[in-house]
Amino acid sequence: MGALNELQYRINLWIQLFNSALALGTGLVAIAVVYAHTETLEGWSAAELLAVLGVHLLIGGFLKTFVVPNMWRLIQDVEEGTLDYTLTRPADSQLLVSVREVSIWSVIDVPLGVGVIIWAMSEMTADVTPIGVAGFLVALMCGAAIIYSIWLAVVTIAFKAINIGDLMQILNGVYEAGRWPVSIYPLWLRGSLTVLVPLAFAITVPAEIITNRINWWWLAAGVAVTVAALFVCRLVWRWGIRNYSGASV
């Protein structure tokens, strides 16, 4: 039985690998088509866009592995009334609902993203400095924290109004916007992606650091935005819990 289980999971691994390769492939096709018609896109070269794609994959892998499965579990618990079991525990409820589920095979996108970033670096022959790498890692962690905050806050607010599947689809659609550097978007959209849904800091800024395009002030701004996002998410969560009356009334 255990062996059977393992086998089943291995097939899931292959399917996940296949789907990731497919997603990477279509991303590469899109970049190839764009650069068949132009040399630079708002100052971004093909190799630099490859780095953006890599960061997008990497953060997306984190999202699918650690964040999204917990959101599904959270909604399921609210619907079935089992969230009470979590709320009555002594530890912090936000922490608890955020670390219960892991969708392990989706983690493949993380090394895949790293691979794409390394590939992009070798195409660019850019100088990789220790400071650049350190800044990149800081920016990545900020990106992960921002993404987590957005998802949890939106789910906490919106699950009553919208079916969770549709909600996830919409958030996914918005996340797709991060595949391209935000500077190519029209001003209103760039503004919303910087302030409202700070994908700019989650994806574009790390990619800018690793490709040596960065003005370091952006990293500082990114850290500030991360702190703000975590704080807002915290407030929203507490608000959500206060308004949650549980199933046992």
């Binding site: 097939i11 399917i15 497919l22 896109l41 079916n163 797709e176 190519i184």
Partner: protein
Amino acid sequence: MRIGFQREIQYRTRAFLMLFGFMVEPIIYLAVWTSVAEAQGGQIAGLASGTLAAYYIVWTLVRVFNLAFAPDAWEWRIRRGRMNEFLSQPIHPFHRDFTMFAGGKFVFTLLWIPVAFFLTVLFDPVFEWAVINVVGFVLAIWGGFAVRFVMLYLLGMINFWTTRGSAVFGIFIASELILSGRLVPLELMPDWVESLAAWLPFKWTFQFPIDTLIGRLDPAEIVTGIGMQALWAVGVGVIFALVWKRAIRRYGAVGN
């Protein structure tokens, strides 16, 4: 069909948010291609930026119009034993699903109008209207829906044989993205991709209705396109009918 209509009317917030969700994707493409077009002096491969804007605005309508019964949903139906309820009804589930989805399209079209207005203000599209384009479009968009619906329905049949159909669906969606004109108008693809696409069904479900409405096709091309849609719909429909019989036989075998 009426049920589908009522369902979407009832959940109009949902329908509206779905439209909003679908808007993100074309806006991304549009932004990318507009900035490429501007860098190239206003047009790429003969497409002016106004035409590109028109293309992606109609894109949103065709996208929601094309929504069809997802092949993965068959897995759920089969696993939960919901198939029995379909099989015991006097009409074929195909009719039920098809009309259900078709009914929802009227609501989507109504909701699309403000979205299109919003995008028009933002992106300045250029349409070349003529009566034939509008009439052709009404036929072409239903034709595209029909072709895509039977294709996905046929694909859903895979679930009667395996529980790992998602890899096949992945390939289908990726090919569709590239070969239908959803990612970019096919003119911007390399020539061999463009000629390959003419032999596959995807283009007829997506780029053809769009091109019809924005006025890039002459009457002869519109008629040919609708003919191609009919050909694909009937061809795939016949295959589906054959596969369906075997699928049902197989389902009985598993269900006992």
